[in-house]
């Protein structure tokens, strides 16, 4: 039923998530000027990185689909984009909470990473109406792949444009912390990132297994109905 290696993968995910949470709460020090609320960083940033990676991966899988004509790659691309959109909601919510706590506003327009993320998120939200308003399955797969490739290429381009547009006066939390993170925070961050990546891959495989199972069930049902009718 499940693909090979699914059980060890899910165990690794649980272990990584548990140790990431343990590190966040008991090991990583409180930030000097932001205090406890800075710990949302260990959820927010890994989620954003994994979501963006999932979108780009969805684009690459779509290229594979168009090149090989194998529709299972389109399903893989769809599941990757779908999970990234769910993570994207989490990124925007945790980002807003963090912004409220550290700058006093729920939304700040001069944080280029957050603004770029919103634009990309809005674009990917159109993936669902686009995909599900095309009825022919073969055409649906083809058009969805073209969208996935276009949007995947748009992700880095949009980040360049928004970063250029913002004035360079605002302190850049991400590049600062990414650049000179103290050792304990860096370790916690890397473990959280690994845990989030594992979680994404596990959910991706699970969703694919469930999609395959329901497709198989549908095939068996039609077979059964045909036999009963005969």
């Amino acid at each position: 039923m499940y693909s090979k290696g699914f059980r060890p993968l899910s165990i690794a995910t649980v272990v990584a998530l548990a140790s990431a949470l343990a590190l966040v709460f008991f090991y990583a020090p409180n930030d000097a000027d932001q205090g406890f609320v800075q710990k949302i960083f260990y959820v927010h940033v890994p989620m954003a990185i994994v979501a963006l990676g999932g979108w780009v991966a969805g684009g690459l899988m779509a290229i594979k689909h168009l090149r090989s004509g194998d529709r299972s790659w389109d399903v893989r691309s769809y599941v990757a984009i779908h999970l990234s959109i769910i993570l994207g909601v989490g990124v925007l919510v945790t980002g807003a909470i963090w912004a409220r706590a550290s700058w006093g506003h729920w939304w700040v327009w001069d944080e280029p990473v957050l603004v770029s993320f919103l634009i990309v998120f809005l674009l990917y939200c159109v993936y669902y109406p686009l995909r599900f308003s095309i009825e022919d399955p073969e055409r649906q797969a083809r058009y969805s792949s073209v969208f996935a490739i276009t949007a995947g290429a748009f992700v880095p381009l949009n980040f360049i444009a928004v970063r250029l547009a913002e004035s360079f006066t605002h302190p850049r939390v991400l590049s600062q912390t990414g650049g000179n993170l103290p050792g304990e925070m860096r370790l916690t961050f890397l473990v959280s990132l690994a845990a989030m990546t594992l979680l994404f891959v596990t959910l991706w495989k699970l969703e694919l297994a469930s999609k395959n199972a329901s497709a198989q069930l549908k095939r068996l049902r039609t077979k059964l109905n045909a036999r009963l009718a005969a």
Partner: protein
């Protein structure tokens, strides 16, 4: 390929000249949006970032109107079957549609820019005009490439008029950033060219990426 693209382009331009459908509608639309902005902002004249923002948002919305009609003749009269049966590359179709949209946008701007200067713009338009031209041309190229791609992408859906603007507008955010930031210093009371090269570079990068991308993926659209 080039001959096929030119034939389709000439067909589209002739159709536009005879029916006078897209360009007059887009132009009228820009003037209407200026009026809306006059009341919405409650300002008689604009300069600087407000002027450049109003100008570019209006042109982007006018492009949405143009993109909505880009495959209209093909869809409504079944011309798309003729085009697809013809033994030509899909790329030719993309090049022709993007070129048509580019020319439509240029034609709209010939009226929309003077209308903007007359109705809303505070500072003089003639002085910064030579430096505005490359911005307009590069932005039109980006709008045309993305517009043709999105129009083709949306035609297969059940509600193209709904999907198209939702797809097009987020994709155009970098064009808006580049064009509005580049025009902003030129539309001040004392126009200066501030960091013009950087924004023209961004627009060029966008155009190159999306033209190449559209040419690469267009073969997979509109084939049935």
């Amino acid at each position: 390929m080039i001959r096929a693209a030119r034939a389709i382009l000439v067909k589209d331009l002739r159709l536009e000249l005879r029916t006078k459908e897209s360009v007059p509608a887009m132009t009228l639309f820009t003037v209407t949006v200026y009026v809306l902005f006059h009341f919405g902002l409650d300002r008689d004249t604009l300069e600087g970032s407000l002027a450049s923002g109003v100008l570019w948002v209006t042109l982007l919305l006018a492009a949405v109107v143009g993109v909505a009609r880009l495959f209209a003749a093909e869809r409504e009269q079944g011309g798309i079957d003729g085009l697809l049966l013809a033994p030509v590359d899909r790329t030719a179709l993309f090049v022709a549609k993007a070129a048509a949209l580019f020319l439509f946008l240029c034609a709209v701007e010939i009226v929309a820019l003077p209308a903007f200067a007359l109705l809303l713009l505070g500072p003089d338009l003639l002085e910064p005009l030579p430096r505005l031209l490359p911005i307009l041309l590069l932005a039109n190229a980006g709008l045309a490439a993305v517009g043709a791609l999105v129009a083709a992408l949306a035609t297969a859906t059940r509600a193209p008029e709904l999907i198209m603007p939702l797809l097009l507008l987020p994709l155009l955010v970098p064009v808006l950033i580049g064009a509005a930031e580049a025009s902003e210093p030129l539309l001040r009371d004392d126009p200066v060219a501030d960091r013009l090269g950087r924004w023209l570079g961004l627009l060029t990068l966008y155009d190159v990426v999306f033209v190449l991308l559209s040419v690469a993926v267009f073969d997979y659209l509109l084939e049935d």
